[in-house]
């Protein structure tokens, strides 16, 4: 089976700081790969290379078995890669509709087609089932959950093949978190591949088929979720050691 996305030997320095050191990960259609590691391990940097926000110093990105160059966010979007950033990356002064379509506005001639965008945004956000009374208020005036919903809506509207979620539930209450979990399962069933970055081990064990752990910019390794315990994963995150009985996990998880 060909991976949907494969990052090979990615390295990136910020000045004297080796943020990524020869990191390789892959992702197959319809699976969730949990990306774990301490703060500063390089998770956000890795996915920003994939989303076109940063350019790697070296390494390759393959999509559907072909090497691609991702230099800008548009390049990533053209490959069907959508990202929900840890910082949400919303323009706080703009309304929900403008944020969902930011950079990819619908136009008629040169004029923004606000009606279509509002209708489509409404449909997309309704799918997430978090109540947003007015789509026309600046998102600065929204609750954390509503803002997160707008950021997620922005990613799913454009029918991603590969979805990157960098701590998507960090700002959410338990009920809203549950809704995001349902969404992840639904997208997975549609064949979308998802990189899920989270600090919550329970979430990751609940959702991920495989778990990739990073430490200090290096890859510790990738394991099948069904092969490991919480303690095994904690050992990978803290000690950087692979559990003894783990199989090599560069293929999708066998169906349980």
């Amino acid at each position: 089976m060909t991976p949907l996305v494969e990052m090979r030997n990615i390295s990136l320095r910020f000045g004297g700081n080796q943020a990524l050191d020869n990191v390789s990960v892959n992702l197959y259609p319809g699976e969730v790969v949990g990306l774990l590691g301490h703060n500063g391990a390089g998770k956000s940097t890795l996915i920003k290379v994939l989303s076109g926000a940063y350019r790697a110093d070296s390494g390759q990105i393959w999509v559907n078995g072909q090497e691609v160059q991702i230099r800008t966010p548009q390049d990533a979007q053209a490959q069907g890669i959508e990202t929900i950033y840890q910082t949400l990356a919303l323009a706080d002064n703009l309304d929900a509709v403008a944020n969902v379509f930011l950079g990819r506005e619908k136009v008629r001639g040169v004029r923004l087609d606000e009606d279509i965008m509002e209708l489509e945004a409404r449909k997309t956000l309704d799918r997430l089932r978090v109540k947003i009374p007015s789509l026309r208020l600046p998102v600065a005036q929204m609750s954390g959950g509503q803002r997160q919903t707008v950021a997620i809506g922005r990613a799913i509207y454009f029918k991603a093949r590969c979805l990157i979620m960098d701590e998507p539930t960090a700002a959410l209450g338990p009920e809203e978190t549950q809704k995001v979990h349902q969404l992840i399962k639904a997208l997975k069933a549609e064949g979308v591949g998802i990189f899920l970055i989270s600090h919550d081990l329970h979430d990751v064990f609940d959702l991920a088929d495989r778990i990739t752990v990073m430490k200090n910019g290096r890859l510790v390794g990738t394991v099948y979720t069904q092969d490991v315990t919480h303690d095994d994963v904690l050992g990978m995150i803290i000690g950087g050691v692979m559990p003894k009985n783990a199989r090599p996990a560069d293929q999708p998880a066998p169906r349980a």
Binding site: A98, L102, V110
Partner: protein
């Protein structure tokens, strides 16, 4: 308790008008200022609300009015342009040199002079924007340097001389004796604007209803658009009530005012209805988000500065045409008026927030205060004290307003 619920009902009534609260405030302030000046100057030959004074007021607002929309965009993107007064002077001087007859000038075509001036302004703006966008030099520094360079370049290119008189066709831009469009065309413009207001209101509302989107209540639609129609009509009547000296022939709208209105209309439309406008606000709201959304932030910044430069040159053309002779101090300190007008009109210096309409009203408020104080014979020093106080009050009011909406 009672008070509170009354004021709640009041705010929700106002908010269902669907008009920015800051713009409503500006309108109220303007109405108060105009009324007060009218009372204070009542009985004078050119009392404040006389057609003559209002007509002059409109011309006096034009130069700042042409530039203020560009300044709103600059400030919304979290930048500043301190060079506009100097760019106005420099491009005005170049336009004067091109068209003035030799030996003082080069005796060129006036239209060529105008186009060359506009291009020059745009290039200067783009050049400054380049350092800001691609080299990360703070706009404050780049445009402060621009202020010095172009103010003195104005002196250098003209060897310190005053250049003029300008071509008669060019002078039409300034609104002098031949610089008005007359009664008939003022009506044509006014009626076209009124037709546009009605057409917009109807088509927007019908389209939103057809698409199943929320609309504001019918009474709000009537109030807002009725007010716009009434303002347009009043404007036409005032412009047509001021005759040429010693005749009954109305002058109609001055050309510089027509230019200002067109510029403001186009900028406002672009700000609200195009990707360009949307990106200006996105960059101001969150530059990182704009980048991650694939917006070419650097190119946008260059474009915004280029637009500002071109508007400064256009204002320079109007100013030069009005004065007939260009001195090397033309436009001196005007950057302060433009920035003040934008800020008084609700543009937040932190970026991300501001409206063209508000800034236009800010420019009108400032020139109203000046004009009223001149009529009252207040010395310049006191005029400036008052304007400074108004600026401070406006900034404080804006930050209170923005905080209340967080």
């Amino acid at each position: 308790m009672q008070m509170q619920s009354v004021s709640k009902a009041h705010t929700s009534l106002v908010s269902s008008l669907g008009v920015d609260g800051r713009i409503l405030t500006m309108l109220v302030v303007l109405a108060v200022v105009w009324t007060v000046f009218q009372i204070l100057t009542m009985g004078q030959p050119g009392q404040f609300l006389s057609p003559q004074n209002l007509w002059n007021l409109s011309v006096q607002t034009a130069v700042v009015g042409i530039m203020v929309g560009g300044m709103v965009m600059v400030i919304v993107t979290r930048q500043i342009d301190l060079s506009v007064g100097s760019v106005l002077g420099f491009s005005g001087m170049i336009m004067a040199l091109i068209q003035t007859v030799p030996p003082l000038g080069w005796g060129g075509n006036w239209l060529l002079a105008l186009l060359a001036g506009l291009l020059l302004g745009a290039l200067i703006g783009a050049f400054q924007g380049y350092w800001v966008a691609y080299w990360g030099v703070p706009a404050f520094v780049v445009t402060l340097a621009g202020l010095l360079i172009f103010r003195n370049a104005t002196f250098i290119v003209a060897s310190g001389r005053t250049i003029g008189p300008l071509n008669d066709n060019f002078k039409v831009l300034g609104g002098g004796l031949n610089g008005s469009i007359g009664e008939f065309w003022t009506w044509v413009v006014g009626l076209a604007v009124m037709a546009y207001i009605v057409y917009q209101a109807l088509t927007n509302r019908n389209r939103r209803i057809k698409n199943g989107l929320p609309v504001r209540p019918m009474w709000a639609e009537v109030v807002v658009n009725g007010a716009l129609l009434a303002l347009t009509l009043a404007f036409v009547l005032v412009m047509n009530a001021f005759p040429y000296p010693g005749t009954n022939v109305p002058r109609g709208m001055p050309v510089p005012v027509l230019i200002t209105l067109i510029v403001l209309f186009v900028l406002n439309w672009v700000a609200l209805n195009t990707r360009f406008g949307r990106y200006v606000f996105a960059i101001g709201g969150n530059p990182e988000a704009a980048l991650l959304a694939g917006i070419n932030v650097k190119r946008m910044l260059v474009a915004v500065f280029a637009l500002m430069g071109m508007l400064a040159a256009l204002a320079g053309a109007v100013q030069a045409a009005r004065l007939n002779f260009v001195t090397n101090s033309m436009g001196n300190l005007l950057e302060l008026d433009v920035i003040a007008a934008a800020v008084i009109g609700g543009t937040a210096l932190a970026g991300g927030s501001g409206t063209i309409v508000g800034a236009a009203l800010g420019a009108l408020l400032m020139s109203s205060l000046r004009s009223g104080m001149v009529l009252m014979g207040l010395p310049t020093e006191w005029q400036n004290v008052v304007l400074g106080t108004v600026l401070l009050a406006a900034v404080i009011w804006n930050s209170v307003y923005l905080r209340s909406r967080r």
